[in-house]
Symmetry: C2
Subunit: 224 residues, 2 copies
């Protein structure tokens, strides 16, 4: 049997949060060639001796580079080709990571990442390393595609949130206003949220909600 040189295999993570109801992505500045000094997604190589799989590799890379484990992590797709990396034929397994803005802003304040508004696309960003602009587009399309029928927007909120906060987050992702009563009914029908504490607010107690799975690291291989 003929054998072939293995291509380069990397992981890249599109870390997304919702700041002022607009989608932001976290980028780092590359310290090494290729694309030295360019903005890039956090990422790295597989460590075959320690990573059980690509999801474990994504978690290890975020922990080691940013001391950070996201609330939600899912595989988006694998970008690949002859031309995306000057070092040779390469494939990158792309992950979408979601976190509430307070945590992402801490990372940014510590100088570990910079947050960039990509709500209307990536065209206004400076040139990114590799094909990372495409990777961001794909991850955000996945996030928006799931926002209308899953609880995924909740990973962009604090652990407990009001129904209004949840609706505003979904509206922000979908880019369209949603009828309040219809939205509540759909959330209940789909069983998207669990009831959490009741928060007093100027004499009007407000029901708070949480995600059924507040922390979900997933292959996500079986979601349409």
């Amino acid at each position: 049997m003929q054998e072939y040189l293995s291509p380069i295999l990397t992981i890249d993570v599109v870390m997304v949060t919702l700041k002022n109801l607009r989608i932001h992505v976290a980028l780092m500045t590359r310290a090494a060639e290729p694309f030295i000094n360019a903005l890039a997604l956090p990422g790295g190589y597989i460590h075959a001796q320690e990573d059980v799989d690509t999801t474990a590799a994504a978690v290890r890379i975020l922990k080691s580079k940013l001391s950070f484990v996201p609330r939600h992590l899912e595989q988006v797709y694998t970008a690949s080709g002859m031309h995306r990396d000057p070092r040779g034929w390469s494939a990158s397994v792309v992950y979408l990571a979601l976190q509430e803005p307070a945590v992402m802003e801490q990372l940014a304040a510590a100088g570990q990442v910079t947050l960039h508004d990509v709500h209307d696309g990536v065209a206004h960003l400076p040139a990114l390393a590799f094909d990372h602009a495409d990777l961001i587009d794909a991850a955000i399309a996945r996030l928006r595609g799931k926002a209308g029928y899953t609880s995924i927007a909740g990973y962009l909120l604090p652990l407990e949130f009001s129904m209004t906060q949840f609706r505003e987050a979904v509206q922000g992702l979908l880019g369209k206003p949603l009828n309040n009563a219809n939205f509540r009914r759909k959330v209940a029908e789909l069983g998207l949220l669990a009831e959490a504490s009741i928060k007093g607010s100027q004499g009007r107690p407000a029901q708070q909600y949480s995600l059924v799975e507040p922390h979900l690291i997933s292959f996500n291989r079986d979601l349409g």
Copy 2:
């Protein structure tokens, strides 16, 4: 910078058709170790000198092993890990390929593949090579997930088909009956199909339909 050995990178294709309205998958018998003589998905290595990307690799592998190009091909996810391949740490980019039963039955009649009913899962199949049972599960979950809101079931039908055939295919995939009138309205609203020829049938002419994109090879990176 520390360098790491590249893991093994392969492509595996879950070739699916709908025979008697039940989901069938095409398998081959492995001619080499590991898992010699076991049933397996068609697949192979990346050829870095000729494959533009993993989708091109999937097409090349199907052409060279089966002289076959499917009507629809999309990336599902990447399976990976330390333990899935006895040769070492490996990742496989998994593709879903769809084709009408007549073509798949020709391949089977020529002895190139065997067709297996996996409509109710893979548990009754003989032990498959690697983690291919999981790969089949994931690809079928993707197909079923998309059947309710896309035209994907049409790739399992001839190039022209009646609305009844299309509804029966979607019903088969979803595993539930669909109201005829509601189904027609939804298909029209979503713009899923194009009008094709009108076929005479016992004096009652029947409108035939076709897919808007009858042949679609896609990264499918942006579908929720």
